[in-house]
Amino acid sequence: MKIDLKNLAIKTTHDHLKKGDFSVKELAESYLAEIEKKNPTLNAYLEVFDDVLEQAKEAEKLFEAGKATILTGIPLAVKDNILIKGRRAGAASKILEGYVAPYDATVIKKLKSVGAIFLGRTNMDEFAMGSSTENSAYGVTKNPHDEMRVAGGSSGGSAAAVAAELALAAFGSDTGGSIRQPAAFCGVVGLKPTYGAVSRFGLIAMGSSLDQIGPLAKTVEDAEIIFNAIREQDSMDSTTIFSDTYEARKLQLQEKFVIGVPRDFLGEGVAPEVLENFEAGLKKLEKAGAEIRDIKLPNIKYSLSVYYIIMPAEVSSNLARFDGVKFGAKISGGNLLEDYLKTRGQLFGKEARRRLILGTYVLSAGYYDAYYNRAVAVRKLIADDFKKVFAEGVHAIATPTTPSPAFKIGEKSNDPLQMYLADIFTVTANIVGIPALSLPSGFAEVDGKKLPLGFQLQTAWGREALLFEIGKKFEKI
């Protein structure tokens, strides 16, 4: 049977593999052929692994032994900040040039055990800092829908890979929107799980109180399958949650459900085509039985400020470990201090250095209270706003995923603040730790190209199941 990558989802693929319509090897070969064709232009993958067909052979054995599960033989792409034992991992940074992961990230271990196929590692903004992959040390990833435009970031390579049929699904990481924003720009589904739902063990840390690994996929069901395969309390990550950490409620959605819309937050700076598409998305949900309710989240307007204080603060601690001593590359100076200064100064990219300076500033003695402590307090206020809304019976909160469709390569790269504003709708979920899902919601026509747009749903802590249920309804209409 001819493999039609476009129409494959995880479940259909699994059925085909089980029936023997095609083999894992043939499937993997189809993806490798697509990668060979498209990756030189898109630059979605930094490396395609040379043992993909051997991995496929192992997966086939599981099918033959009748031990195959839903993810066996499913070809996935992995963001360059997630460790796979024995393979290069670099967070798209020169400072990790030559680094080979000595262990598997927990998410990788879980998927290895069921025989999933890892095709390669995908491009990203250096250390996941950015919204366009323009901060990668290895060149920008292009948007498959318009090669003049960015794929988004920081998981831009993963998003482009899924959108261009270079992988059936992919792993990304999301600190302030790094899964959802590129998913929206490339027209795929992206999930940021509840903080602590998925282990961060083996994820190169950026902002430890914000980071989560999650799937980028073609359908809500695919994202759900991967999420369910990787979620688990992990003794290697003390922040992972237990099944009873959040109030366990029956998560069956009522026929009538409530979608909250923070209208005050949707005015300024949002492209008209985005707003129009968002309203159409709300209409869809109304048709599916939703009551659309205006909600107030009075402190949400401070989210971006809180984010760009707390995140660089955590970055400045997390990136202290890259010093040219323990791993990665090194530039030698006259003494140990010069080794540090040169290695870090020359091998970290501009954005990483900018955030290190910012983080050092907000944590320094004179400014700690005015910035960092204040941000921590406001973070709590924002979380309280969300708690209140959910307690009032709102099942999910809807916003656009991004204020505009994909922007042009180079358009914002010289204006960091403008780039940061692209995260306006996504950072809140990281700040308060709730799960959020970006759904493809149609296209905006710009310069004769159809650019994908995203519709974001956020719900209360631990209730990913609700997002999947509403997301599937949204997909169907």
Binding site: V100, T245, V325, G328, L336, L341, R354, P416
Partner: protein
């Protein structure tokens, strides 16, 4: 005195110092162990200042000190037993060090 009480003073402090000086960039770079090329300093200063001005809007808010909240308290530490074999990971970890000698990571002399 908790930090909320001298918030006005901190706010004042921030506003008079909101112009970020080049010397401050030098000091921060030193603290962060970064060598910044001279020609990049002014751009960096301007960018950081602009970002600080934007994020400084949270100073308009004067939240009450949030009550301390504790979730369910659990011991997340493993039992202190069954250690791994000495040296089990040494080679894999050392393989990543840029400079090493006889099973040690090598650095320049600091005394």
């Amino acid at each position: 005195m908790n930090f909320w009480e001298h918030e006005t003073r901190a706010g004042f402090f921030v506003s008079i110092l909101s112009m970020l000086k080049l010397e401050e960039i030098d000091k921060l770079a030193k603290l962060a162990r970064l060598e910044i090329p001279a020609e990049e300093k002014e751009t960096l200063r301007k960018e950081v200042e602009e970002i600080l001005e934007y994020v400084g809007q949270i100073q308009k808010l004067s939240p009450k000190e949030p009550p301390k909240e504790a979730g369910i308290i659990r011991n997340i530490f493993r039992e202190d037993k069954e250690p791994h074999q000495t040296g089990e990971f040494t080679d894999a970890l050392l393989a990543n060090a840029p400079e090493k000698e006889n099973g040690y990571i090598k650095v320049k002399k600091i005394l």
